[in-house]
Structure formats: structure tokens, C-alpha cells
């Protein structure tokens, strides 16, 4: 699971009012190189919850992102490279996403988060 996906997901258990951001429990993180596409990054940038993204990056061991940004940062190649790396190249292979309200763990294995709810959570 990449941080892009993490930034999109929340715990949607019945009764949970704010299931975002999910806390990342790290088992294994791997880096995989991904082709750089500036258009894609520009499209995604405004959709990202920045604080959650920066925190998630730190949790998986990457602390190079600025704490605060606005869209003018997209002009900087250096910023785009960091954004690209954090968004797409860091993978949580094994671990879990934890609901901030209930502590329910959504396991991540083989890079795939299991977001399916139990019968009594829907």
C-alpha cells in the first residue's frame, strides 16, 4: 500500500464519526521505483490531506516533506521529486491500518489493505 492510498482511506465502521487518518502500524516497508509523471502529481496534489500525508511519511521513515505547502510548491522540481517519492514509491507491504476511534486493525498484507468490515460493524 502506498501513501496515496493511505491518504484516501478511512475507517468506515458504523458509528465511527472520524475514521481518518488511519494510524499506520509498520511491519515491513519497501521502496519501489515508479516512473515520474508531473501531470499526475499536479492532479493529485490538491486532493491530498497534507498533514496526514506528512505524518504517514514519517511513520514509514521518510521525513523530507515540508510540514506546510501550497500549490506554488508544484513549480519546484525538488518538491515534486519528494512528493513523488512519498506518494508512490514507499510501500507498506506488511502491517496494519488502525482506526483512530475504535482501535480496530485493518491488516495490510502483500501490500493490500483489507478494508472489509465484520458483520457487526456495518
Amino acid at each position: 500500500m502506498r501513501l496515496l492510498t493511505h491518504n484516501m482511506l478511512s475507517s468506515n465502521i458504523k458509528g465511527v464519526s472520524n475514521g481518518f487518518p488511519l494510524r499506520i502500524e509498520v511491519g515491513k516497508v519497501v521502496e519501489k521505483q515508479v516512473d515520474f509523471n508531473a501531470d499526475f502529481l499536479r492532479n493529485m496534489f490538491p486532493k491530498i490531506e497534507w498533514k496526514a500525508f506528512v505524518d504517514a511519511a514519517k511513520t514509514v521513515g521518510y521525513a523530507e516533506l515540508p510540514e506546510e505547502v501550497d500549490s506554488s510548491a508544484l513549480e519546484s522540481e525538488e518538491f515534486l521529486n519528494k512528493f513523488h517519492h512519498a506518494l508512490l514509491e514507499l510501500h507498506l507491504e506488511e502491517g496494519a491500518l488502525v482506526c483512530p476511534e475504535t482501535g480496530r486493525r485493518f491488516p495490510v498484507s502483500k501490500g493490500i489493505p483489507n478494508m472489509l468490515l465484520h458483520e457487526d460493524e456495518v
Binding site: 478511512s10 492532479n43 465484520h118
Partner: protein, 477 residues
Amino acid sequence: MWYLCMFFHRLLDYRKAEVESLAQLFLDDKDKWSSLEWRIPLHHHPDSPFHYVNLPSEDAARNIANRSILVKGIYEIWGEGGSYEELEESIRSYPDERKLPYLEPGTTFKITVDSFGKVISFQDQNDRIKGFTYIPFKGQVNLKNPDHKFWVMETDDYGSSNGLPPVEGRRIFFGREVGGADRSLLPTYQLKSRNYLGPTAMDAEIAFLMANQALATPGKLVYDPFVGTGSILVAAAHFGAMTMGADIDIRVVRDGRGPDCNVWSNFKQYGLPMPVGLLRADNNLPPWRSGLKEVFDAIICDPPYGVRAGGRKSGGRKLLKGTVDPYTVPDDKRTDHIPSTGAYSLVECVHDLLDLAARMLIMGGRLVFFYPVLREDDNVENHFPEHPCFKLIATSEQILSSRYSRVLLTMVKISPYTEEIAEAARIKHIDFRENHLKWLEDGNLHSAVFSPDPQLTATGDSKLGKEPKPKYRGKYV
């Protein structure tokens, strides 16, 4: 300018829709907003492979043809006629300034004779080519890799051996090829040689057509909420899009058949970038954070209708031993608990898909998905799902059997997802939940379409007594 577009004689309903979609990718903004003009050549039938189409430039024509799957060629027509004499007259009167640049010394060229609905012997083909001495070719013939490809295209002047209704008269076209589909993609991507396959993996040709309807290109994010083995996203990734997929079935989406036979390996096999995200999730209760919207450029999918892969959703009531209603999962069983699922009716599935797409697609983004229909239904068009955020722009039927078809629907998001629309969807969602059984009974076209009573099917066909589509239409045509 008018070009002749010759299609492969297959998937008739998909042909123009594909060209119309690709026009959105390759036309300049100023030319884009009305649909294309089409014209059928003299004596031709709407299902004929030959159509004239008006395109603003040769570059647009070439780009569309080269990216397409169903365009055999787009041609600048130098002349046409009902006989070779008429053809000559027509070519002679075509302006020199349009012809001469392609006839110059130092260029290479080739003439090919093609026919639709009959076979022309080599001898006859050669004779026909020799007949074009009145065109002042100054270049060299090169059969392998010519600069300019010229085509003589003849259509039938007798019965209907091509399956189409008999034509009233022969038509011959002479033109210069501008571009054509690269069908070598299809053997490369054919399912037969796909590493990881499931019973409902999407055929490569249809998957490419879906990716074209969805306008998949580099820089875009394409989502499949019913990703299965990923075969639709493979096509989108081939065209350079970033992909993301979800499926309720963890064995399908995560485990596959081992470490080198799973959704990831299907991308690796073709050297394509991996999906940016794969997850296990229920499209009935999507796990997206509440503020998230307008992130996907397209959503493409084959929703779970049907006997082989009927939909499931969270919250079934299969009781574990020792528990009592209201249902709770005992704490000691939580970690490895496999949630049971309930049946997911077609109406609910489509409702969820439209709601998800309305929220998650960017404005102008496309939703492309299959929808099942009963062929005997005359007014199929009236039954397609509707949503205030979407405009239906293409419907392409693929006949699956004498009774059932599936229709590829292409919708464009034309208005934003408002609070009111979200609220109405929420109420409907609860209604589905509370009146689950009622919906399964009343609204479930799925059981009517895909799980027919075997006895009815056995006698049903002969009873139909009417043929809603011409005889030559079938699964691939």
C-alpha cells in the same frame, strides 16, 4: 475534411463510439464539443464497415486511427465510383495539389487491393493495380515499409456473402492511408497467455475498447471497483494511465495463485507499471474518507452480475456457532474472522456504482461499465440507469446469446455531486439495507437475466418468434 473510415467487421456497436471517444483525446478543444459528423457511402448499409467521417485534420485522423482497436484504416479518398471507369474519372478530378505531394520521386509507395464480401484472385488484384497508370506515380514501389500506402477497396456487387443485407450496387474506393489500428496488441495481451486468470477476466479486445471509452492516458487515475484479476486495468495501464482497484474477494485480489500469479504479476508480465493501489473493499460500503471527492479521471468496470460472479456485500447473517442475534463477532474470533457476505442485487450494485462515480470522478470524467439486458426487451434504451450527475453518451451492445446481451455504457460526469444528491443516495442506501429481500425480489434483473429457469431457456428461443437484431449479429459482430 471527410475521410473514409473502414472498420474491422466486428463488434459493430462499438465502432463509432470508439472513434467518437478518441476524438475527445485528439481533437483541439475548439473542435471537440459537438459529436462527429458521419455519412454512409452510396449503397451502403449502417452496419457496413465503410463510413465517411468528418475530421478537422489529418493528424487527428491518424491519432484516432492508430490508437483505435476497431478502425482498420482511415483514408483520404482520392476517388470512388460504381465501376473502374467512374473511379478513374473521380480520381482524375481530385485536385492535383492534394495528390502530387504523395507521388513525388524519392518517395516509396505500395498499392493494396482489398475487398469486402468477396475474394479477389492475385491475378485480378495485379490487373487492377496495373490499371492505375493514369496516376503519375514517380516514387519507388516498396512492399515492406512504404512511405505512402494506397488502397483500392471494393465492395460486393452481388448477394450477401458477408452477412450484411445485399448491396444495391458495387462501390470502389481509392485512397491514401492515414492510419490504422495496431491489432498486434491483441495477440500480445490475449487472455490465453495471461498469467493470472479468473472465470470473468475481461477479453483483451473489449478491455482495450473500455479503456478507450474511458479516455485512459498518461497522468490520469483510473479506478476499477470490481477489479478481479485486473484485466480491465491492464488495458488502461497499457495506455499509460495510473490504475487503482478494489475487490471484495481477498483470494482474488491479494492471493491469486501464488507469488508470481496474481494481479500484480499480470502487470509485470507486460512490463506495465503496477496499480498504484489494490485493496480489499466492498463497493457497497466504500472505505474512502468523507472529504475525498473528484480524484478519479475514469471508473471502468464489469460489475458482479451473473451466475459465475454474482455480487456479494458485507453484512451477511451467517451465524457463527454460539452467538445470538443481534449478530456480534466474538472477540477471540475477530482477528482471522472471515466476514460473511449477503447477496448484492443488480439495482443496488448499480446504485452504489453511480453514487461512487458521481462523488469520486472529476467533472468531465467517465464512467464505463457493462449492463446486462434481455434481448427480447424492445425498449432496452429506456431501462438504462440514470443519475443527475451523468450524461449517457454511448451504448454498445454485445450479444452474448439469443436471449442476453451486455451493453457497454459510457457516461460523462456533467454536474457536481451536491449535498442533496449525497443525501438522497444515503437514504436509498438505508432503504436497500432495510428492504433487502424486497429489492432482491422486485428489482433484481440479475436473477431474471442471468439465472434463467433452465426449462424456460430450452423452449424460450423458439417461442420468441421475433429477431430483435439482424441475423449476422453475434457475439463478435
